[in-house]
Amino acid sequence: MTAVTTRVLRQPRSSARLPLLAVALAFATVALSACGDSDTPQSPTQTTQKIVEVFAGRLSPGGSGFYSFQVRTSDTASYTLASLTQVASGRAVEATLTLGVGVPAGEDCNVSSSTQAAPALAPQLSTNVSPGIHCVSLADPGALTEAANFAVRIQHP
């Protein structure tokens, strides 16, 4: 009898708590979805912001190297041989190197476009790129008399 009574008493109390839980869940759902709305744009946003990567290393006389990067959307990419300095002193080296772009092929970069570039802070080369893996290469055509540190800035979509 006590057990039956207990069961009867408990049932209404349990049901009475359910609306509170339901209201709390509904409130939290609304609150969380409102927070989510602020993170999610209502419509796609067009942006011209480019990804900037730097290919840096050391180049020996007559040497070459390349760097691969991933393009997400079709747009223009630009490449700047931005720095070429002496290893010991850090002074600028005013040599002209071969800057190229293309797509990776095995362990190399299959260059499709290139130019002769001296260090500058404005792009020496620009290309239209499509989504996928691309590469930028830097080679010394015979201008270096000793190893030099270099940096190539890549701005791509």
């Binding site: 008493l9 839980l21 969380l32 720095s83 404005a122």
Partner: protein, 146 residues
């Protein structure tokens, strides 16, 4: 007996409900904190002065950000040792380094010692001692950039 059993039961529902409420509101307060003030647009080009003290055998550099393509000039405009020659360079700022693009050994003067075209981006202007200073040098470099 019955009352003693029903009290923990009530807590069983109330505590999760309060937790859910707390989670819901806590998520929103984080979002409010995430809204950073939008930097005010600036004019272009701008001219600023880079003043500092160059230690013997040392170097110092300043970060600048070009908001569009244009011309960057750097002039060692003043120093407390007018005949002293120091290195002046501009370059690409990458991480915590200033990667030199062009440099010159210069004395303070009235015309820019360095001038070059730049794209929008982060750059640096560097002053260093090429090994000619006998004591630290106070300097001013005037920088104009887009």
């Amino acid at each position: 007996m019955v009352m003693a059993r029903s009290t923990p039961r009530r807590l069983q529902y109330s505590v999760p409900a309060l937790l859910v409420l707390a989670l819901g509101t806590a998520g929103c307060s984080n979002n409010q904190n995430a809204s950073a003030p939008t930097p005010a647009p600036r004019s272009s080009p701008v001219t600023e002065t880079f003043q500092g003290t160059l230690p013997v055998d040392g170097s110092v550099w300043r970060l600048i950000t070009a908001i569009q393509a244009g011309s960057l000039t750097a002039r060692l405009s003043a120093s407390d040792q007018p005949t002293a020659e120091v290195g002046l360079a501009v370059g690409l700022r990458h991480g915590g380094a200033c990667l030199v693009t062009r440099d010159v050994i210069a004395q303070a003067g009235s015309a820019p010692q360095l001038s070059l075209a730049v794209d929008g981006g982060d750059y640096c202007v560097k002053v260093w001692d090429p090994g000619r200073l006998q004591s630290q040098l106070a300097f001013t470099v005037t920088i104009t950039y887009p």
